[in-house]
């Protein structure tokens, strides 16, 4: 009997017992430590993890161990996809996984789950984040406004005087840029839109012309129309729709 078939028993908070290969179980630094320092024959208690969650976690560990050891023929892209599907769970499960990965010290799983949560936060306004995660707002209106102002610096989109950088613009997509309400805006996008208009004029227009300036200056500029302009407090949202290929 080689060491690869050594099994470890794990008992969960709801008294379920799992028997797993050592190589899989020691993906958890906590279990590894207990196994190497405690008595290897008795059952290891994982008090804070339920059977359902541990079952999922063991699936994860097994997949990663097998792929690393070459026991499973799976490419990095496929493993990445598998991970992406693994975290397609309801929020309760996701946070249970985070707590368990933290407690069991499984770094890659903690990174994966935390990144998933981060992706659920990205691109959302505070109200939307509160709704998504059921978070209670304990600010007064004045207090929230004060916090907003205190953090305004992070959103002042100045790439230069009156310029701002739009992060992502792909052809055939609706893209959004938020610009602060300075008196003059020159927008230079990640894939090169050049536009200069004064904000006060923007506010009254239904559509404006935007020029897409290519990175290679020898390619002609392409004119596009901004489809929609929303003026908010201190910012203007511009929606672009690009049809042309560069």
């Amino acid at each position: 009997m080689g060491s690869t078939s050594t099994k470890i028993k794990l008992r969960t908070s709801d008294q379920k017992v799992f028997e797993v290969e050592k190589a899989v179980a020691v993906q958890s630094q906590t279990i590894k430590y207990i196994y190497e320092n405690g008595c290897p024959d008795s059952v290891i208690h994982v008090h804070s993890v339920s059977g359902d969650i541990l079952s999922k976690i063991l699936d994860y560990c097994k997949k990663h161990v097998n792929s690393a050891a070459g026991k499973e023929d799976i490419s990095p892209e496929e493993l990445y996809e598998w991970d992406a599907n693994f975290v397609k769970v309801d929020q309760n499960t996701l946070f249970d996984l985070i707590l368990a990965a933290n407690c069991l010290k499984i770094e890659s799983l903690l990174d994966l789950t935390c990144q998933t949560v981060a992706n659920m936060i990205k691109g959302k306004r505070p109200e939307e984040i509160r709704t998504t995660f059921n978070i209670k707002n304990d600010y007064t209106i004045e207090a929230e406004e004060a916090v907003r102002r205190e953090n305004k610096w992070a959103f002042d989109m100045l790439g230069g005087v009156g310029t701002m950088v739009i992060e992502e613009l792909a052809d055939d997509t609706m893209s959004k840029c938020v610009t602060n309400a300075k008196s003059r805006v020159c927008v230079i996008a990640a894939n090169q839109i050049v536009m200069m208009r004064s904000i006060s004029k923007l506010a009254n227009k239904k559509s404006i012309d935007v020029y897409k300036q290519p990175q290679n200056p020898t390619t002609p500029r392409i004119k596009e129309s901004v489809k929609q302009i929303n003026v908010g407090t201190g910012f203007i949202e511009l929606f672009f729709h690009f049809k042309c290929k560069m």
Binding site: F95, I121, F133, N134, K136, G160, I188
Partner: protein
């Protein structure tokens, strides 16, 4: 284990909720934050008071600052950054910080901002990625013939972050050289020249370009070069103006600011200090050229220029 942002989740109809974003330990919250950009973290401060605390923690912001952020702080008078939290330091450094490279050596250091010759260097942290960016004004460059008003003039304008650009009326020997010495953090940087063919002004509230002096750029290309003290080189050539054959689609190089990419260079470490020399030249004296504005040189991490919204902070 640390405190958690507990008591922040409310269930509906009094049902027992599982753990939510408010219930995970601080270390996990910090892990989530590593995948968020500074603006996104600032956004979270508006959720509620506990999140505001978590979003202001030094450990989170220390990770967003470049490893050698102290070198940037040295450019600022100490009283401005003493007692600041790491978040406030990030905010401070995300606004352009002027520094004086001097014309002959490096004057960065704990002396604050200096008035005088040259000047026109700025460095800042990109708000989203925390990477170091730099801009060098034409004022900080050596321009051949800059003192002769027949050739060059300085024009005040709000279209430049330095509020001044150099306008070339006419010259035969067109050469602009610059050098910068700065402890840039490890990264791959793109250097580009910001140029504008023609001069511009405002007439009745509208921006107008004039090309009365613009000539000669379609005859021969200009040469852009950069070199680093550790031997990296890049150069390229561009015609700054369209030749007559290209006119079918209209002339697209005139009347707008164009960033001409010179090339890329790699910095492996903030020490030894990076020194980059850069230039743009057209010194074929058989033809004269003119009608060009030279604003500045940008040194920006290459990834920033081609950034896709993936959300991964490297």
């Amino acid at each position: 284990m640390g405190a958690s942002l507990s008591n922040l989740t409310e269930g509906s109809n009094g049902t027992a909720m599982g753990p939510g974003l408010g219930d995970i330990p601080e270390s996990c919250v910090a892990c989530v934050f590593t995948y968020l950009t500074p603006p996104e973290i600032c956004n979270l401060a508006r959720l509620n008071r506990a999140f505001r605390g978590a979003a202001s923690s030094d450990s989170v912001w220390e990770m967003k600052l470049p490893s050698n952020y102290q070198d940037l702080l040295d450019l600022v008078p100490p009283e401005r950054y003493q007692n600041l939290s790491k978040k406030d330091i990030f905010a401070l450094l995300s606004r352009p910080v002027p520094f004086d490279d001097g014309n002959k050596g490096c004057f960065w250091g704990a002396f604050g901002v200096r008035e005088g010759l040259g000047g026109g260097y700025e460095v800042w942290l990109d708000r989203v990625t925390g990477r170091v960016c730099m801009a060098i004004s034409a004022k900080g460059m050596a321009i051949t013939g800059i003192d002769d008003r027949r050739y060059w003039n300085w024009v005040s304008t709000e279209e430049s972050r330095f509020h001044t650009v150099a306008y070339l009326q006419q010259i035969w020997w067109f050469e602009v050289d610059g050098v910068v010495k700065f402890p840039l953090p490890a990264d791959i940087y793109t250097l580009s020249f910001r140029l504008h063919l023609g001069r511009f002004s405002k007439r009745l509230g509208r921006r107008v370009s004039s090309f009365e002096h613009t000539h000669g750029w379609d005859i021969k290309p200009v040469t852009f070069e950069l070199s680093t003290c550790d031997g990296q080189l890049a150069s390229c050539e561009h015609y700054l103006d369209d030749t007559e054959q290209d006119y079918d689609n209209g002339n697209h190089k005139r009347g707008c600011w164009i960033d001409y990419k010179v090339g890329e260079f790699i910095v492996n470490d903030s020490e030894p200090v990076t020194e980059v020399r850069f230039s743009v030249k057209q010194i074929d004296c058989t033809h004269s050229k003119g009608g060009l504005c030279v604003d500045s040189v940008f040194i920006i991490p290459t990834d920033l220029k081609e950034r896709k919204r993936k959300g991964m902070l490297k």
